[in-house]
Amino acid sequence: MILEHFFPMPDVVTGFNITMRSFTTIVSAAALMLGVIFLTISHARTISQQKSGWYYSIFYMISLLITVGLGLLSVRNENFLWIYDNMTSPTGAALYSLTAFYITSAAYRVFRARNWNAAVLLITGFVVLAMLIPIGGILLPPVVPLGEWFRSYPSSAGFRGMIMGTSLGTMGLGVRVFIGRQKEHLGVREERRGVE
């Protein structure tokens, strides 16, 4: 599959790769179901053993039963979609919006020019935010070219390095898994392997 990205391959190889990718979609869908089953078992255990915060697990169980029940009837059922419109959407939006409050309060307390490094971060952050708010470019016109320069050059360069680093790291990890040097995903911990 890696070679297919770089070189033209015979149809038999391409066909095999397509089949393998189809397998991945099936395995991923099954993994999603396994995740739900294990999460439910974990919550059921929390309730039966009355562990700390066990009553939250009851909410999980009720929510799961209602959602799965309505979903099994039909995912296009009005009641099922009502859950998305009137519960999931406002809750998700509210949770995401809360970060604005925490960030603003934290910025007032922590975002200070305590030294040169912090000053650079402060000025850059200020310019980029001023560029991003719709009226910023009208109130402070120089922030637009300056902010776009920050975004297109230093930020791009940093992220490009990060992308390359994580890609190489992922490939390295893949090779380690293939040759059996990385076993953590199988539940084998490093210290245990040392003992073995």
Binding site: H5, T14, N17, I18, T19, R21, S22, T24, T25, I26, V27, S28, A29, L32, V75, R76, L81, Y84, D85, T88, S89, T91, G92, A93, L95, Y96, A100, F101, I103, T104, S105, A107, Y108, R109, F111, R112, A113, R114, L122, F126, L129, A130, M131, L132, I133, P134, I135, G136, G137, I138, V144, E148, R151, S152, S155, S156, A157, F159, R160, I163
Partner: protein, 279 residues
């Protein structure tokens, strides 16, 4: 405790209340302030506008409950833009929840279309639904649609969908529109569709994720991007289709200005404190 120390240690609930007022006021009492268009948004709009009539685009709907309020209005405008131009759309989602929000956006856009605009399900657009497998799922879909899914979101068998007649891989698409929200999945579209098939791509992400994708824009692999609620508002403005994002962008103005004022004040108070030698 001096007044400066008191101000530096102000109760965070006061900051929360001030921010709440700054965000709520422009939504409850709409105020329109001037707005300029960002370079990335203009680039994404120009690219979308250049997609030829009659062509087919593939559209990933990746907005969830948390990100729909900021990206949803822009996604609606993108669908409206394509359908009014006579561009046909093949939708899919790589998230189960995102799948539903994609349907919401399609329905909202269909409700806004001018009378007589061709927008028949299966002919002018089709929603393939949830495709499992993340990036591998995307790779599978665009290399062999029929091997990956057998029916669309509404249960219609793929072979009974007129729009997909003769379409089985990404080579039939003229563009990729990737409304990934905060999924961070835009590179899936670049790696699995855009680069291997030579198809240009644009889309949307949340504001905080825009810098992650700037390397792709400067490399020419991504044709601009609509960032967050401002990107949605700019798309509404450029399409002359006012919607909820323009109102929310005004709230962003007030919230952002308050943030800037607080940071300036915090630093001024901090320097006064240091000058006085206070702890």
């Amino acid at each position: 405790m001096s007044i400066i120390n008191k101000l530096l240690n102000i109760d965070q609930r006061i900051i929360y209340a001030a921010l709440f007022i700054a965000l709520a006021y422009p939504i409850l009492s709409p105020v329109m302030l001037p707005m300029d268009i960002q370079g990335y948004s203009q680039q994404a709009f120009d690219f979308s506008d250049s997609i030829p009539e009659g062509s087919i685009v593939i559209f990933e709907g990746g907005l969830g409950a948390a990100t729909y309020p900021q990206g949803g209005p822009g996604m609606v405008v993108q669908i409206y833009h394509m359908l009014t131009k006579g561009v046909k759309i093949v939708f899919f989602s790589i998230g189960t929840e995102q799948n539903f929000w994609t349907v919401r956006a399609i329905e909202t856009a269909l409700g806004k279309l001018p009378p007589g605009t061709p927008a028949e399900n299966g002919v002018d657009w089709v929603h393939l639904g949830y495709v499992a497998g993340g990036e591998a799922g995307v790779g599978s879909l665009v290399n062999d649609i029929r091997a990956t899914i057998t029916s669309d979101y509404y249960g219609t068998p793929i072979d009974d969908i007129p729009l997909l007649e003769g379409v089985n891989d990404a080579s039939s698409f003229a563009a990729v529109l990737w409304w990934g929200g905060s999924e961070g999945s835009m590179p899936y579209g670049i790696r699995q569709i855009s680069v291997p098939f030579g198809i240009p791509i644009t889309g949307m992400s949340t504001t905080n994720e825009v810098p992650n994708f700037s390397p792709y824009i400067s490399a020419g692999q991504l044709q601009g991007i609509f960032g967050g609620v401002r990107g949605s508002a700019e798309y509404e403005y450029l399409m002359r289709l006012p919607g909820p994002a323009l109102g929310q962008a005004m709230a962003t103005n007030f919230g952002g200005l308050l943030w800037m004022i607080l940071v300036i004040l915090g630093n001024v108070f901090y320097f006064i404190q240091r000058t006085r030698g206070e702890e």
